[in-house]
């Protein structure tokens, strides 16, 4: 694969990782703040927005590399399957994104015995993380070259 062809795959990949990382962090923040709310803490909108931005930036160095590794594997598998079933290529990448995030969280929980992403401790929070992964996968499907490498 020459450099331009590599770049055509790389930038959608990086963008999808970035998007999933930001969305997943933002979703986690909402679930964490909801838990504080359940304890009787009133979190004004300005604090909520500031906390969301803080967490998107703060979680990036730890969460984005994990998502990046998960996406590398999952999107590669989706690309292989997409060649066989091009009609469902978008769905495959979407599913791959969600699976990558769930697998990464599952692996961390199994490995550490705890859930390191606090916003993923509940079923709803876990679903939100998966949706963030799905958005990243969908984004990659939309932005990346759709054909076989030699057709690009």
């Amino acid at each position: 694969m020459n450099a331009p062809a590599l770049w055509r795959r790389l930038w959608p990949y990086l963008l999808s990782v970035l998007a999933t990382s930001a969305l997943a962090a933002g979703a986690s923040t909402q679930f964490v703040l909801a838990e504080l709310g359940a304890l009787g803490v009133d979190v004004p909108l300005v604090d909520r927005v500031a906390a969301t931005v803080h967490d998107m930036i703060g979680m990036f160095p730890t969460y984005a590399p994990i998502i990046a590794v998960g996406f590398l594997i999952a999107l590669w598998v989706a690309a292989l399957l997409g060649r066989r079933w091009p009609g469902v290529r978008g769905a495959l990448f979407t599913l791959a994104g969600a699976s990558a995030v769930l697998a990464a969280l599952g692996a961390m929980e199994w490995s550490f015995g705890i859930m390191p992403v606090a916003g993923a401790r509940t079923a709803g929070g876990l679903l939100a993380q998966a949706l963030a992964g799905a958005v990243g996968g969908w984004l990659y499907a939309r932005l990346s070259p759709s054909g076989r490498p030699h057709e690009n």
């Binding site: 986690s28 803080h54 967490d55 979680m59 730890t62 705890i114 859930m115 606090a118 401790r121």
Partner: protein, 362 residues
């Protein structure tokens, strides 16, 4: 059963720092993650290992395995934790143990007591078991001390994934618990009369408290607790007070996210000091010995991550200075104790771990 492991109680000089006026000696080694230490009358010591062993370190240099230790759940941070002698040990022979109990999907912190004779525990009684069961192998707390009125104070962590439970009074997670020494609940505990609250609770809103020290004169109770990334705290405990976790904290989650955007809030206690970045405080002693007159009244905090012992110079309830000590050992420090000889005893968190004695440099 008396089992002599015939390990030598090697005493040798590791080095001295005459500028600081102390000398370090290893008094026991080849221990496996030693967690707690108690001094028996006559010069022997009892030491717990996180893996579940209780050993007597005899003054003559022998190491003896103590039998009758309860079954312990050993995983990650879980295992055998603290040992403490009853204040009337010389007459009743009672010792107290804290430990993790259960299985991966349902485990607890337990407090038990037994009679210690002939290198064995007899008549073991379970005095306390934390509720609810949790499915994480971390944040047990597990430290205990005796209050001036003779009751026993025990720390319990939040179980990590259950941090919000530290704010609710229907469970033991993230709490300190006060009991009579036979396990009964004192009538004057702060939440005894509150419907829905567990009567054992003394304070709440803690993360993973692993250090307790009580002053003899004033009865002040100091507690330290691990923060996440930053936000380790030293607190002055008062019954019924809420210490804030996870509503307020100076730490961030390990992920880099907020645990909470707030560091203070009305009705929630502020720490005396907090350590950011974390030092990982794991054990604490109040120095009341004679060997180091300049240390009288100071708190010593064993730090896992900083690989040090912090000397907190105290002026009553205020910390007026800090000194980082024993970094030359390059060891994660699990516990610090003051021996009856007035020397400090340090437990290193390692396999092999050791006990290091700190004595004045002549």
């Amino acid at each position: 059963m008396r089992t002599s492991l015939a390990l030598c109680l090697t005493v040798f000089i590791l080095g001295s720092a005459s500028a600081d006026g102390y000398r370090l000696e290893t008094v026991a080694e080849d221990l496996v993650h030693p967690w707690s230490l108690a001094f028996l009358p006559g010069g022997d010591m009892l030491v717990t290992e996180r893996g579940g062993a209780l050993k007597r370190l005899a003054a003559d240099g022998m190491v003896h395995l103590v039998s009758g230790v309860p079954q312990v759940y050993v995983r990650s941070q879980g295992g055998l934790f603290e040992i403490a002698l009853d204040p009337d040990f010389e007459s009743n022979g009672l010792v107290y143990l804290t430990y993790a109990h259960g299985k991966p999907e349902a485990n607890h912190l337990r407090l038990a007591r037994a009679t210690f004779t002939d290198d064995a525990l007899h008549d073991l009684q379970i005095l306390f078991e934390s509720v609810p069961a949790k499915d994480t192998p971390v944040h047990y707390g597990g430290r205990m001390t005796f209050l001036p009125d003779g009751t026993l104070l025990l720390t319990m962590g939040d179980g990590f994934d259950y941090r919000e439970a530290a704010q609710r009074l229907d469970n033991h997670l993230g709490k300190t618990v006060r009991l009579h020494r036979d396990g009964r609940v004192p009538d004057d505990n702060p939440f005894v009369a509150q419907p829905g609250a567990l009567p054992e609770i003394w304070t709440y809103g803690h993360r993973n408290p692993q250090g307790l020290a009580v002053t003899a004169e004033s009865g002040d109770v100091f507690l330290h607790e691990h923060g996440p990334r930053g936000g380790d705290e030293l607190n002055l405990l008062e019954p019924g007070k809420n210490y804030g976790w996870p509503i307020i904290t100076y730490g961030l989650d390990y992920s880099g996210a907020y645990v909470s955007p707030y560091t203070e809030m009305e009705g929630l206690e502020q720490p005396i000091i907090h350590w950011t970045p974390s030092i990982a405080p794991a054990g604490m002693a109040l120095y009341d010995g004679e060997a180091f007159p300049g240390w009288q009244g100071d708190l010593f905090v064993a730090a896992l991550v900083e690989k040090s012992v912090r000397r907190l110079q105290m002026d009553g309830r205020r910390v007026i200075g800090q000194q980082v000590l024993f970094r030359e050992l390059d060891a994660r420090m699990r516990e610090v104790r003051v021996g009856p000889d007035g020397f400090l005893y340090l437990l290193t968190d390692a396999d092999p771990g050791r006990i290091v004695r700190v004595r004045p440099d002549p």
